[in-house]
Assembly symmetry: C2
Homo-oligomer: 207 residues x 2
């Protein structure tokens, strides 16, 4: 009896590797550890993936593909304006928070192999980011979005902020006397993003 659900061996290896690489880093994880977590011998793992580096690449493209698959659903939420913004942001956070090590692995790879990650982002995410950017420019023309927003920098900022709050939140969580929970941290991020994007308007519909 194995240590996790049966499934395909390749899939179980990928899951274990994703978890361990996220927790300890690629250099901090031996393929021996991954094999043990799956319940197989090391040469068997190498037989399936060829090399440790190839395993890393397959883990990463799998993760980016999931992301790419979820993004359209997230962006299709509703029409426009502040409420849509909130729902889009919260769906995006939910995606990362559901499996927190995803954000961790992304952050690690951005540090270790920035060029490779840039290429992966360009392939998997660029169209969607560009779509958001175009919407912001539309909003600026139509007058309900601040004109001083730098759309490219704004979108990149939100992505950085979301990834790092979830990936590195543990390190800053209890620094303060009244430490903000991840919940508070994320809802402040939503507030911050809205305040910086939309023009002030009266609280309720009247006027």
């Amino acid at each position: 009896m194995g240590l996790s659900a049966p499934g395909q061996v390749r899939t179980r290896i990928l899951e274990a590797a994703e978890r361990l690489f996220a927790a300890q880093g690629y250099n901090g994880t031996s393929i021996q550890e991954v094999a043990e977590a799956v319940g197989i011998r090391r040469p068997t793992l190498v037989y399936h993936f060829g090399s440790k580096d190839q395993l890393r690449i397959e883990v990463l493209t799998g993760l980016l593909s999931q992301w790419q698959e979820q993004l359209p659903k997230v962006l299709a939420a509703s029409q426009s304006g502040p409420d849509r913004f909130r729902s889009v942001m919260e769906s995006a956070f939910a995606f990362f928070r559901a499996v927190p090590h995803r954000a961790r692995l992304i952050a690690r790879e951005m540090l270790d192999r920035p060029d490779e990650m840039r290429a992966l982002f360009a392939r998997h995410l660029e169209p969607y980011m560009q779509l958001v950017i175009d919407r912001i420019r539309d909003g600026q023309r139509e007058g309900h979005t601040r004109r001083d927003v730098d759309p490219e920098a704004y979108v990149v900022h939100l992505m950085h902020a979301a990834v790092s709050v979830i990936a590195m939140g543990d390190a800053t969580k209890h620094v303060l006397r009244d430490p903000p929970s991840v919940e508070r941290q994320l809802s402040e991020l939503v507030r911050l993003g809205k305040a910086a994007l939309f023009l002030d308007r009266p609280k309720s519909g009247g006027s």
Copy 2:
């Protein structure tokens, strides 16, 4: 003749280690590499620091001490309000941008050893962060700062954002058709921070 300026050997080891740990990570760097960069033999390095882990600890406390030393100067900039905000932010960015690998090392350690980093932050930075938080609350009472700001979460957000833009900016830099430079990214961060903190006011002094 060594590979870098003479100085104390210990100091040269610390500098090389800081640079290499930041670039390749702690697990991705051998003490052999550090020794070679300094121009000494590995056992000599071990003689000076006892162990690789002790070297890491001394690199990190050194870095946090520098940070702690600079922060009061940064915060003493001017009195209050949006202009002070801008100058404080820009001084903080300048500190990291001057030696970009500092932010990288901080980000790596937040991922690898969150508990240890939390303790270091608490010791070296907590008083200053708390000071900023108290100022935000003052501003809220006095009415020139938004009441919906969550001061703790806001401050933590800015720290996360600054560290990750500088540390991981390379990975997101050229994703878009019109990639924002680090400059644009940082000035958007200043704009975002101000828009989310202060109430809207007329552009020029007249009313």
